[in-house]
Every structure is written in structure tokens, then in C-alpha cells.
Amino acid sequence: MARLFEYQGKSLFKRKGIPVPEGKFVQSLDEAMEVADELGFPLAVKAQVFGGGRGKAGGILFAEDRESLSQAVNGLLGKRFRGASVEGLLIEQKVAIRKEVYMAVTADPSTRQPVGIVSPKGGVDIEETSEREPTAVFRVSIDILRGFYYYDAMNLLRQGGGLESREMLSLANLFTSLYQVYREYDCKLAEINPLALTDRGAIAVDARVDIDDDALARQTSLHLDVAEEAGERVATLLEIAAGTIDENDHRGSVHFVQIDPDGSYAGAEGRVSIGFDCVGAGTSLTTMDELVPVGYYPINFCDSSGNPVGSKLYRITKIIMAQPQIEGYVFVSCVSSQQLDNTARGIIKAFKELYPASGGQPNIPSILVFRGAWDDVALDLFREHGISDGRWIKVLGRDTTEKEAAGIFDALYKEWKESGGLE
């Protein structure tokens, strides 16, 4: 899922005629002042970060004059919300809200159809409202072949109640526009919360738009980086780099996410940061379960599947090893049908490039466990290329369990550390 920032979502709304407050994305105080000169006061200053509860966490401030704008901008830029740094702000006209409504179009996996959702209780967490007050949330499944029309929207809004006829008329039009955003940009979610009713009509005060990853290739006008979903933070450069590996080549896939991008969590927990690669997400989890209790923390997750070509393993290995915090590397395959000799070739080529002086023998404790198709060839290749002979590497075969792998890595790491580590 590719999530858009609020300002990006609003630009899509604008393209489809959904009213949004006049505003601009800025990354400095000077830019913010220019926007103020253009729009006047009062202004809303909104941190462009992912994650809910931004307002409650102090991520939205209001400015009545240049001084309060300066304070708001300086207070928000660079501030961290849920681990993500604020790199930009949306400065927009403050809206005088009379009533708040919730409106969304999202994918419903149970019916395999889009679903339109509306609630007169806008401005708050819709999931909370749905649980606490289920009768306040109204839904309609949408047949994409038939479409979603003005009268469908009116029917739904009527169920919601609490709206005047005039309000319903403008909201129905807006709802069909939101559906167009959802369809045209291959969204998984197009949400307005709150949709403000003002004396000048309805206006989208916030925007959440999530694009389907699998459709990004055809959504070129959005200029989005493709990366694995990483929760509520922006994708890291390494994740974006990894996202390009499958971009033009669908012969197998690699999935890479940084669990602890700067290694700070591992450090705070007193654990050793390690780079991690697996064939099979289940094996990945069981191996992590064995490594964590003995003091190690994989700062990335990586899984390859669908029998990827060797070049993908080469590229992803270079990405994993580029994490400067790692003091170890673990690769484990499940008993898979993946052609492990090609997997091995990708890793060997990467190791040889990263460690040219030692012929590919790593300088940090590394274990590789090959179990599955062509695993014997994979082991032979590491031997033939002289990498298995390295002091800090163990290349293991199908008789190794995850628990044993963690134990072998632990012993290797302790020996490496006692002999001076990287010093």
C-alpha cells in the first residue's frame, strides 16, 4: 500500500472537484511566510506525517499572525511523531467548521467490492465510532460495473440522517467525486475525515488516500516511490531502493522492510543489530524467535519468494549489508522449492564485491542455512568460491534447525567479539 500525505491526497481531491482549503506544502519558514502573504490569516499549520491522532499529538497548530506562524513552523519542522521526523508542513486556510461528517470509499475484501461509508459523526476515529456506536456508520457496497451515482449517494446520506436537504445535495455530489478518486487512482482507501460543513458549503479538511501497490506501475502521474508497507512511517531510502528490484522484473520477488531503521530500538534493548534474509516468511519468524532471546535483533525483515532470479538476491544482499549498524548477518531458507543455487550465486556475487580483499569472506559473523531445492549445490558453490573457509562465516545445510542456527550464530558472534569485533 502506498500512502499519500495529506497534501498529496488533497491535490487528487482538487483534480476531481472536491473542495479543499486553499493551501501549500512547505519545507521552510520562508516558504511558509510566502504562503501567508498569499493566503492571509488565520492559517492551519499541519505536520505532514502518517498515522492517526496527529491533532491530539500536537501536529496541527493554528496561526493568527506572522509571529504565531513562525512559532508553529519552527515548532513542528523536524519534530518526531511516532518515530517519523516532520519533513514538511501543509499551510492552509483555517476553516470555520459548523458540522463534521465522515466519508470514505474503501475496499471490502469480504465482498470483493468497494464500499461507500458515511457517518454524521465525523472528525473522530471512525473505527472507534463503529465499535461504540455502530448505528452511526452507514455503508453501501458498490458494483464497479454499474458505478456509483448521485442517487446512490443520496440514499446512503438519507440513512445517516442529521443533515439538511441542502447539505445532502452537495454531499451527494461530493461523494460521487470521492468514488471517482478511488477508481481513477486505484485506491484502497479514499477518506475525508472530517468533511466539514461550513457556511460556504462542504470542504475536505483532511485527506487520507492509500493507493494499491500493485497498481503503482500505471499510476505514473503520482510519481510515487514503490516500497513495502512500513506501518505509519515514510519509507526509508533503503526500502525505496529495495522496492525498485521487482519494478521491471516479476520473476520472483524480494520483500524488505527496516524494522529498526537506525538500530536505536535494538540498542536501547541491549541487543545486537543484525542483517537478516530469509526464504519463507514463516521461517523468518521462527528464526527471529530463536535469535531474539539470545540477544540479537534483526533490524530488517527480508523474504524472497516465487523463485527469484539470482540478480535479485545480489541486489537485496547489498541492501541488507548497507545497514551500518549491523554486527552480523543471518540467511535462512525454509525447505523451499526456490532454486537455492541461484540464491547462493546472488549472495556470493554480492559478498565478493563487498569483501574483495578476502575473496568474499565477510568481516562480521555470518551464517547461511540452505534447506530446499538445490541446497547441496548452494553449499558446494560457497565452498568452491572459498567463502565457506572464512573465519566468521558458517554455511549450513538442511540438517540445521532454526534453533541450532541461532545457537551457532551466537557462538560465532561471541568468538568474533572476544577477538576484537570490527576493531
Binding site: T244, V309, S311, K312, A322, G421
Partner: protein, 107 residues
């Protein structure tokens, strides 16, 4: 210099220095490429590796990018093959990185 150079699906190139191939006794690249499960795109022509499919077919995925030709040539041939697999975003990351990756440190 006489090279056989071709582009591959994922965005990269394979370059084979055919002058080195002339004196190669093993022709290990052709052998490994024609092993079951591999791309089977190389053949011997006039004593040096040549492509069976067209350049366009190779670029569209006929080359399975198993990297075996390069590694086998390195072990048993004349080190005549270089496969270049660019990853510009990684280069950009490394350029801006304040810490040195561990593979460039110590030992």
C-alpha cells in the same frame, strides 16, 4: 577489444570479453548456461560464446540472470565476464550515509 554485450531484464548488462574467451579451455560459461534450470542462451560459435536468442529476446527475459556464467568463468575460465547490476537508489543512500557500512570497516 571484441566484446559480446547484452542488456538483461532487470536493468543491467552482461559483458563478455571474447578475446579472453579464445584462449579459454573450459568454456565453463556455455556449459553452465545450458544446464537444466538455467537460461540456455549461450552457445559456442567460432570457439567463443554467442547468443542463441536475439538481443531483444534476451532483454525481455530469456537471460534468467542466475549469474552462473560470471561465477563459473571466474572459477574455471579466464575471468572474461562482468555482469553489472545497477541499483542507483542504493548508491544515493551510500553517498549520503554518515556512518560507514561494516563491510568497509576493520579487519
Amino acid at each position: 577489444m571484441r566484446d559480446l554485450e547484452f542488456e538483461i531484464r532487470s536493468g543491467g548488462t552482461v559483458r563478455i570479453d571474447l578475446e579472453k574467451c579464445e584462449s579459454c579451455e573450459s568454456k565453463a560459461c556455455v556449459k553452465i548456461c545450458n544446464t537444466p534450470g538455467m537460461g540456455e542462451i549461450l552457445e559456442l560459435k567460432d570457439g567463443v560464446p554467442s547468443l542463441k536468442p536475439t538481443l531483444d529476446e534476451v532483454k525481455r527475459g530469456a537471460c534468467t540472470e542466475d549469474l552462473a556464467c560470471e561465477l563459473e568463468c571466474e572459477l574455471h575460465g579466464n575471468k572474461a565476464i562482468v555482469i553489472t547490476l545497477p541499483l542507483p537508489q542504493l548508491d544515493e543512500y551510500l553517498r549520503d550515509l554518515s556512518e560507514t557500512p561494516t563491510y568497509l570497516r576493520g579487519r
